[in-house]
């Protein structure tokens, strides 16, 4: 196999550019030039944002322009829609400019990792799927055909049809609309809870690993304590103590899922701190806080990214589990877990009620896991210097 190196590919792409065709393309269809260079992940994401955004504007312009009485959801949708379109176009145009200067001769470790990731087709497909799911979640107010919480008892339990693409549930609510709104809830819970848990876990792990001694002992016993409870039992107990609300669920998931990250980061820091560059940093008189923050954390960043990606999938499943038990997001607010629970009584007759949100969970988690694995393969060997 004598594949040209990615740097070479990029270099030839730069040379081919002055033909004008691609410049034109970059203005009209951001992301398309990247796809022509076979950089599917990057190009695909940008094309999706661009075409999706334009599609929403074109088909639902009435909803977009309806300024009267915006809800929080609609503000989020409007902002991300405008931002997405502007960024996609702006990125594409500036890309054409900078690409004309010669490409950097020596790619950084991050560039190399990106090339490895780009060669992993499954991971790229997963990434595209995640971006698509997030776009759908963000732009839900324009995409959902009905109000997801509006009951209509005359139209309950309808099979999928032209009016209701995925049918209706027992209160006559449109399943497709609920699925889209549920994506918002499930994805934001996953994202925010993981952000909390990974931040806590990384800091504690780095401190425990570097400082050692009784600090390490204390933190790791705390980890043991949290891990020794079955995760779901712990969640159920804590949620039962408070009123289940979105906030409580996010905080509880965030505050219970950090031990995994702590252990991994601590292990990594334990081996890193024996490396000579840490001794050299100490010999140069840097403080502990500086060594941890500036010398150790960037070195565990690759691990943290992988842990976070895999963690989002896991957290979505946990939230679905909680909601299924009735302790998560409360009806009528849709989350995928709640929807599966709602459809439980109708499994034999109206099977789509549980199946559709269930498939959404499986699909999303699968996408996150595939991307996480791809990131691990891409980042691990590169980031070790």
């Amino acid at each position: 196999m004598t594949e040209p190196s990615p740097a070479m590919e990029r270099a030839t792409a730069v040379d081919a550019r002055p033909d004008g065709g691609r410049t034109w393309l970059a203005f009209v269809l951001p992301g398309a030039p990247q796809i022509l260079e076979k950089r599917w992940g990057l190009g695909g994401c940008v094309v999706m944002v661009w075409l999706g955004g334009l599609g929403v504007l074109g088909l639902r312009w009435r909803a977009v322009l309806d300024v009267g009485g915006y809800s929080m959801d609609e503000w989020v949708a409007l902002t991300t829609l405008v931002l997405g379109l502007v960024l996609a176009w702006g990125w594409s145009v500036t890309r054409m400019r900078t690409a004309e200067s010669p490409a950097r001769a020596e790619p950084s470790p991050w560039d190399e990792a990106r090339t490895v990731f780009g060669k992993n087709r499954l991971a790229v497909a997963g990434l595209l799927a995640i971006v698509a799911i997030y776009l759908a979640a963000l732009w839900t107010p324009y995409l959902a055909p009905y109000d997801p919480m509006a009951d209509d008892l005359t139209r309950r339990l309808m099979a999928p049809s032209g009016d209701h693409l995925l049918g209706t549930d027992e209160y006559g609510r449109d399943v497709l609309s609920r699925l889209l709104f549920g994506a918002r809830i499930s994805l934001s819970i996953g994202l925010v809870a993981v952000a909390i848990s990974v931040t806590i876990g990384t800091i504690l792990g780095a401190v425990a690993g570097y400082i050692g001694g009784w600090v390490d002992g204390l933190i790791m016993r705390l980890v043991d304590l949290v891990i020794s409870f079955p995760s779901l039992v712990l969640l159920v107990t804590v949620v039962a103590l408070f009123q289940p609300s979105l906030f409580v669920i996010i905080v509880v998931l965030g505050l219970t899922q950090w031990p995994g990250a702590t252990r991994l980061v601590r292990g990594e820091v334990l081996s890193l701190r024996e490396r000579e560059f840490v001794l050299a940093a100490r010999a140069l008189g840097f403080s502990r806080a500086r060594i941890i923050a500036r010398h150790l954390l960037p070195n565990v960043l690759a691990t943290v990214i992988v842990v976070a990606t895999l963690g989002i999938g896991q957290t979505i499943v946990l939230e679905a589990g909680l909601s299924f038990l009735g302790l998560g997001v409360q009806s009528p607010t849709p989350s995928w877990g709640t929807m599966v629970n709602d459809g439980r009584d109708h499994l034999t007759s109206e099977w789509w009620l549980s199946t559709v949100p269930g498939l959404a969970i499986v699909f999303t988690v699968l996408a996150f896991n595939v991307v996480g694995d791809g990131l691990r393969d891409a980042l691990d060997p590169r980031m070790r210097g």
Binding site: E106, F277, A280, A281, A283, L284, R290, M383
Partner: protein, 354 residues
């Protein structure tokens, strides 16, 4: 410490005084090993002291002890050890104060340049960090100074190199970056722990020349740890020889090569090939360094020493200090004490002629 610019230091003034340094390590099984046993050293401003000895004799442990970098809690300096830097005692100094001292007043470079740089930070970020920590520079000033420093240590195209990741550089270049980092704080003392051992022979000479040149230009003192006697002869003013945790001999470099007193020093010199003398066979020192866990209470070199007699195997020799023509030298050997004359009927001078 916010002292005046270091270049103002009077060359020749006593800079570092290590007295009776004892560093011990506790192994996992609880066994205590004393890696450095009663070492005393003096370094004057602007001079290079060579610290030589075989692997495992405690050279690096001595350097780390001076820097206050002995890993806790398994390693510690024993009571009575003293490290004075310009008269300031460092052994029981406040850790935070000692930390600010490192990098600013004394810096250290290590043997292994391939792993001594942080793989994820660019060269410029790493040098700049020292400047911002110890010299209070802002980002812009630090960048400019970094370019100057990289140029000073002989890195071609420093503007480009400062944005490179370390793994793009060769070992020699990385060691130059390490030197630039050590230099950035403008320390009065640079400890170089076998700085060229891991590099190509051709690069070794260049780097040592560079270090010597920088030492002179910045008025630094240098503690050069090496096992290469050729390096010692060329770059050091004084030499301290270590054997099994003890300092066995210390003298100006000419005296060490001219009239070595300790049998171990003599052995070291005889085992080095020389161009100016035809020798049928090199004579290596017989045997190996005893392991630190089994260092005898008596003279530690006795078992390998061609001159050893009963007393050497029974009692540890004292350190004999004297001043020859204004230069201090010391030797730790029974042969150079009055007991040798009593026991063998030989004087210290004759013992050296065998």
């Amino acid at each position: 410490m916010n002292g005046p610019p270091t270049t103002g230091l009077d060359p020749g003034a006593l800079l570092l005084e290590v007295t009776d340094l004892r560093t011990s390590f506790r192994s996992g099984s609880g066994r205590v090993t004393r890696a450095v046993d009663g070492v005393s050293l003096r370094i004057r401003g602007g001079e290079t002291l060579g610290l030589v000895g075989e692997s495992g004799c405690g050279k690096t442990a001595t350097a780390l002890s001076i820097m206050g970098l002995i890993p806790k809690p398994n390693g510690k300096l024993e009571a009575g050890s003293s490290v004075r830097f310009r008269g300031k005692e460092l052994v029981d100094a406040d850790p935070d104060c000692l930390r600010r001292f490192r990098g600013r007043h004394m810096a250290m470079i290590f043997q292994e340049p391939m792993t001594s740089l942080n793989p994820v930070l660019s060269v410029g970020e790493q040098v700049g960090e020292v400047l911002r920590t110890h010299r209070g520079m802002n980002r812009k000033q630090a960048r400019d100074r970094t370019v100057a420093l990289l140029a000073e240590v002989g890195i071609p195209d420093p503007r480009r190199v400062q944005d490179e990741a370390p793994h793009r550089l060769s070992g020699g270049m990385r060691q130059r970056v390490m030197i630039a980092m050590a230099l950035a704080g403008e320390p009065e003392l640079l400890i170089a722990d076998e700085p060229t051992t891991a590099l190509d022979v051709t690069i070794q000479a260049q780097l040592l020349e560079l270090l010597d040149d920088l030492r002179e230009r910045h008025g630094m003192a240098m503690l050069l740890i090496t096992h290469d006697l050729g390096v010692v002869a060329e770059f050091c003013h004084r030499v301290a020889v270590m054997y099994a945790g003890h300092l066995v001999e210390s003298a100006p470099v000419a005296d060490i090569f001219g009239e070595p007193e300790h049998p171990y020093t003599r052995g070291l010199l005889e085992s080095v090939p020389r161009l100016d003398r035809v020798v049928a066979r090199l004579s290596p020192i017989q045997g190996t360094v005893p392991r630190a866990t089994r260092w005898p209470g008596a003279c530690r070199f006795a078992e390998r020493c061609p001159h050893a007699w009963d007393l050497c195997r029974d009692e540890a020799p004292p350190t004999v200090e004297r001043s020859v023509g204004g230069a201090e030298r010391s030797v730790r050997c029974w042969l150079h004490t009055s007991r040798a004359e009593e026991a063998l009927g030989t004087g210290p001078s004759r013992a050296g002629e065998t």
